[in-house]
C-alpha cells in the first residue's frame, strides 16, 4: 500500500495524537512509514499539520497536490490541508456542515476528545484505510469510549 495522509487543525486539537494513533496502526499492519509533525512554537494554538507517508518513501514531506487523504479538524485550516491533497483526494472535515465532532464532544462534556470522536466517525467510511478493530487496539483506555461514540454517531447522520 502506498498512501499519503494529511492531518491538520490548530494547536491543542490533538492533531499529533491522531497522527500517532494512525502511525501505530500502520506499524501493526507491517507497513513502512515516514511521518512529519509540527512541533514546538506552532503548537501553542497555531496551525498544525502532520504528514503520514505509508509505503515506499524516503522523505517525510508530502508534495503539494499529491496526498491521498485529508483529515481536517478545523474548518479554518481546510485550505492549508487542501494544498497537499490530490484533485480527486478524499476529504474528512470536522464541521457543523457535515459531522460536528466538536459539538458531540461538548455534549459529552469532554471537548478534548473531539479528535477521537471524529476518528470514530470517519472509520465508518468505506474508503478509510483502517478498520475499527485495528484502531481500537492501539487507543488508550480512556479514549476508547469516545471512539465508539463517534463510530456509532455516524449511523444517525
Amino acid at each position: 500500500m502506498n498512501k499519503q495522509i494529511i492531518i491538520n487543525g490548530v494547536g491543542g486539537q490533538g492533531v499529533i495524537f491522531l497522527s500517532q494513533i494512525l502511525s501505530k496502526v500502520t506499524l501493526n499492519k507491517g507497513f513502512k512509514i515516514k511521518v512529519a509533525e509540527t512541533l514546538g512554537m506552532a503548537r501553542r494554538g497555531g496551525s498544525v499539520i502532520s504528514f503520514l507517508k505509508i509505503g515506499d518513501y524516503n522523505s517525510p514531506m508530502i508534495i503539494p497536490k499529491d496526498g491521498d487523504i485529508l483529515i481536517c479538524l478545523h474548518e479554518n485550516e481546510l485550505d492549508n490541508g487542501l494544498y497537499y491533497l490530490k484533485e480527486n483526494g478524499k476529504i474528512y472535515l470536522n464541521s457543523n456542515k457535515y459531522f460536528d465532532a466538536t459539538q458531540v464532544a461538548l455534549k459529552h462534556n469532554n471537548p478534548k476528545m473531539t479528535n477521537v470522536i471524529f476518528l470514530g466517525y470517519i472509520t465508518k467510511d468505506r474508503d478509510f484505510p483502517f478498520s475499527y478493530e485495528e484502531i481500537i487496539e492501539v487507543l488508550p483506555e480512556k479514549s476508547k469510549n469516545y471512539f465508539d461514540i463517534g463510530y456509532h454517531e455516524s449511523k444517525s447522520n
Binding site: 515516514k34 512529519a36 512554537m41 517525510p60
Partner: protein
C-alpha cells in the same frame, strides 16, 4: 526485538546508547529537545546505569561531557543550532586538544526557521572549528551515524558533530532494535598538562595535529552514488535531509536522467569525489542552508551550480516542493506547476489560562509607555499583546534593559519605565551573569522573572529550582536566593494571576528603581497551565458571560487576548469557546463591567 515508530531524535538517542555513551547531557531547544528524554527512557528501560541529565546551558553541558571523554568515557552532548553558539568556546578548544574516549556533539538545525532566531548551518560551524560532521537523511540513519560518529571520534581522538535538521529530528520512521547491552568502560584520568592545559605554544602544535587529523579523516568519508542510468551526464550532490526529498522528487517527476551523490560527511570532503564529478557535465549542489559542499568542490571544479550561482535560494527551508521546482527547472523536466500557497496560517498564541498573559497584561496596564525587553520561551508570544519589544538571544533581556537605561541616562533624557521579562529556565541559562553585570554597572529597571516552574516551550524540562533530575532528586537551587546573591535588595514574590496586586507592585518597584538607581525584581510565580491541567485535583473554574452586562468593548478578547474569549461580530458580544477554555478564571478580573462571571 522491539519495533516502534521513533522520532529522528529518539532514533539518535537509541544510537548513542547502543554506541556505548556513559554520559549524555543537553539543554533543551527545538528541534533537539526529544533526544535526551528518550535516552533517559531507554536508560531506565534496560537498567543501563548511564548518566543522562539536563544541564543549565549548552556550554555547561558540553564541558561536562567533554571531561568524561578526556577520562576515557564515551560522551554525547545535545543542543539546537543556536545553542552551539553558546558552546562554541569550549568546542573550538576541544577540537585542538582532542580526547581519549569518544564524544559526539549532536546539533539540530532549524532551516525555515520554525522555532529559532537564525537558520545557521552547523556544518559550517564544523568547518570553522575543523571538526568532522555527519549529516543523516532519515531517523534510521541518525541512529547509525550516532554510532559511526563515536567510532570516528575514538579512532582520531577528536569530537565529531552529528548534525540534524528539523525534518530528520521531527520526522518519524519504523525502527527495530534489540536490548541494549551494558558497558564497562575503563575510566581513568591520565595527567598530561601539556595536552589538557596546553599553553599557546603547544596550541600551535595541536593545531598542526588537528590539520593532519582532518586530512586523514577525509579518506574515511563515506558516500553513495545512486545511478539511474550509465549514460547519465547530470548529477546532484547533496547531504542530509535534502537527499530524501530529492529521491522522492525524482520519483514524482518520473525522472531517470539525473544521478544523485550523497555525502554522509559533508566536511571534510573525500578526495574521491573529485574523480566522480569528472564523469558528469551538469552538476547541481543541493544542501541546507549554506554552501558547505559547494565551497569544497570549487577546489576541483568551478563549473558547478548551487547556492553560490543563485540556483538555490539563499534562505529558507529547502522543502520538498521547492526541490521539485528547482530540479525540474534546472534539468528541464516537464511538470505541472503547483498552485500558489496563499492560505494563511494561524499564528501561535499563549495558551488559554497561561499565567504569562496575566503578567503581560499587568505590565502594559502599569506602564503603557514603557520599554519591554524580553527573551526566549513561550513568553516571547507576549509580542501579540505588545508587551514584548525585543527578543535577541538567551538571557539578553537583562543586559538590554541595562543598555536602554544607560542610553537615556547618559544623554540626560527622561527615562521611560523599563520592564524586562525573562523565564525561569532562561534566567538560569544566561540571566544570572547578566544580572550580576547589570547590578555591577549600576542600572535601574524592573526585572520580572516569569517563574512557571518549568521549561514549557520545549516540553516541560525541569529547572534547577525544582532540583529534579532524571535519576531522582538532585539539589534545589532556589531562585530568590540566587537573585539576592547577585546583589538585588528589592525582591517581591507574587502570583501574577492577582492582576491588581501585580500592577501595584510593578509601580512601586519602578519608583524604587529610579529613585535609588537600583534594579528591583518581581518573581511572578504560578505554574504553567498545561502542567496544572495534568494534576488530578486541578480546580476548573467554569465561567460564563452575562450578556446583559457585556458591552462588546473587546478588552478581554483584544487586550487580554485569551484565545478562548471570542468576539462575535454579529451579536457584538463576547462568547466563551469552552472547547479550549482551561478554566483559570482570571478573565473575571479583566472585565470592568463585571460581565464575566463564575458559574
Amino acid at each position: 526485538m522491539h519495533k516502534e515508530i521513533l522520532l529522528g531524535n529518539e532514533a539518535v538517542a537509541l544510537g548513542l546508547l547502543e554506541g556505548g555513551c556513559n554520559v549524555i547531557s543537553a539543554y533543551p531547544g527545538t528541534p533537539s529537545s526529544e533526544v535526551l528524554p528518550y535516552a533517559n527512557h531507554l536508560n531506565k528501560k534496560f537498567n543501563l546505569q548511564r548518566f543522562v541529565e539536563w544541564s543549565v546551558n549548552e556550554k555547561s553541558a558540553f564541558e561536562l561531557a567533554y571531561a568524561n571523554a578526556i577520562a576515557g568515557g564515551n560522551s554525547a552532548v545535545i543542543m539546537k543550532q543556536v545553542g552551539l553558539n553558546v558552546a562554541m568556546d569550549p568546542l573550538m578548544s576541544a577540537a585542538y586538544i582532542g580526547l581519549k574516549g569518544a564524544m559526539v556533539v549532536v546539533v539540530a538545525d532549524d532551516p525555515g526557521p520554525y522555532s529559532s532566531q537564525t537558520e545557521q548551518d552547523t556544518r559550517f560551524a564544523a568547518m570553522f572549528a575543523k571538526l568532522p560532521v555527519l549529516d543523516p537523511s532519515t531517523p534510521q540513519e541518525g541512529r547509525e551515524f550516532a554510532k559511526k560518529a563515536l567510532k570516528i571520534s575514538n579512532k582520531y581522538e577528536i569530537p565529531v558533530i552529528l548534525r540534524l535538521t528539523n525534518r530528520v529530528s521531527h520526522g518519524k520512521q519504523d525502527i527495530e532494535y534489540e536490548e541494549i547491552p551494558k558497558i564497562n568502560l575503563d575510566i581513568k584520568f591520565e595527567k598530561n598538562p601539556q595536552r589538557w592545559a596546553a599553553i599557546p605554544r603547544f596550541r600551535y602544535l595541536q593545531h598542526i595535529e588537528l590539520n593532519n587529523k582532518i586530512k586523514k579523516l577525509a579518506n574515511e568519508n563515506e558516500y553513495s552514488l545512486k545511478k539511474y542510468n550509465d549514460k547519465n551526464k547530470n548529477l546532484i550532490i547533496t547531504s542530509g535531509c535534502c537527499y530524501s526529498h530529492i529521491i522522492d522528487s525524482l520519483k514524482y517527476l518520473n525522472c531517470e536522467k539525473v544521478d544523485v551523490l550523497k555525502l554522509d560527511m559533508p566536511y571534510p570532503l573525500n578526495i574521491e569525489v573529485s574523480d566522480i564529478i569528472n564523469n558528469y557535465e551538469n552538476i547541481l549542489i543541493i544542501e541546507e542552508t549554506m554552501p558547505v559542499i559547494e565551497y569544497q568542490i570549487l577546489k576541483y571544479r568551478n563549473n558547478v551550480d548551487g547556492r553560490l550561482t543563485g540556483i538555490i535560494p539563499g534562505e529558507g527551508e529547502l522543502s520538498i516542493d521547492k526541490i521539485v521546482k528547482i530540479v525540474s527547472e534546472y534539468f528541464k523536466i516537464k511538470f505541472v506547476q503547483f498552485p500558489e500557497f496563499n492560505t494563511k496560517s494561524k499564528k501561535p498564541e499563549l495558551c488559554p489560562g497561561c499565567p504569562h498573559r496575566s503578567s503581560f497584561y499587568a505590565i502594559i496596564k502599569a506602564f503603557p509607555k514603557g520599554i519591554y525587553p524580553s527573551d526566549i520561551g513561550c513568553y516571547t508570544l507576549g509580542l501579540n499583546m505588545n508587551a514584548v519589544d525585543t527578543c535577541l538571544c538567551m538571557g539578553a533581556t537583562i543586559n538590554q534593559a541595562s543598555g536602554f537605561y544607560h542610553a537615556f541616562k547618559s544623554q540626560n533624557k527622561e527615562i521611560p519605565p523599563i520592564v524586562a521579562t525573562i523565564g525561569d529556565s532562561t534566567f538560569y541559562h544566561s540571566g544570572v551573569t547578566a544580572l550580576i553585570n547589570s547590578v555591577y554597572n549600576k542600572s535601574a529597571f524592573v526585572l520580572v522573572v516569569l517563574d512557571n516552574g518549568t521549561t514549557a516551550m520545549t516540553g516541560f524540562q525541569p529547572t534547577p529550582e525544582s532540583g529534579i533530575l532524571n535519576s531522582g532528586h538532585g539539589n534545589k537551587v532556589p531562585l530568590k536566593e540566587v537573585i539576592k546573591g547577585c546583589g538585588i535588595e528589592k525582591i517581591h514574590v507574587l502570583n501574577p494571576n492577582n492582576i491588581n496586586e501585580m500592577i501595584e507592585c510593578l509601580k512601586e518597584c519602578w519608583d524604587y528603581s529610579v529613585k535609588n538607581e537600583k534594579i528591583s525584581v518581581i518573581i511572578a510565580k504560578e505554574p504553567c497551565t498545561l502542567l496544572k491541567l495534568r494534576e488530578k485535583d486541578y480546580k476548573f473554574i467554569k465561567i460564563k458571560i452575562n450578556e446583559d452586562k457585556c458591552t462588546g468593548c473587546r478588552v478581554c478578547s483584544d487586550k487580554f487576548q485569551c484565545p478562548s474569549l471570542i468576539y462575535d461580530e454579529k451579536r457584538k458580544k463576547v462568547f466563551i469557546d469552552y472547547s479550549t477554555c482551561n478554566g483559570c478564571g482570571v478573565c473575571v478580573q479583566v472585565c470592568k463591567f463585571e460581565a464575566i462571571e463564575i458559574e
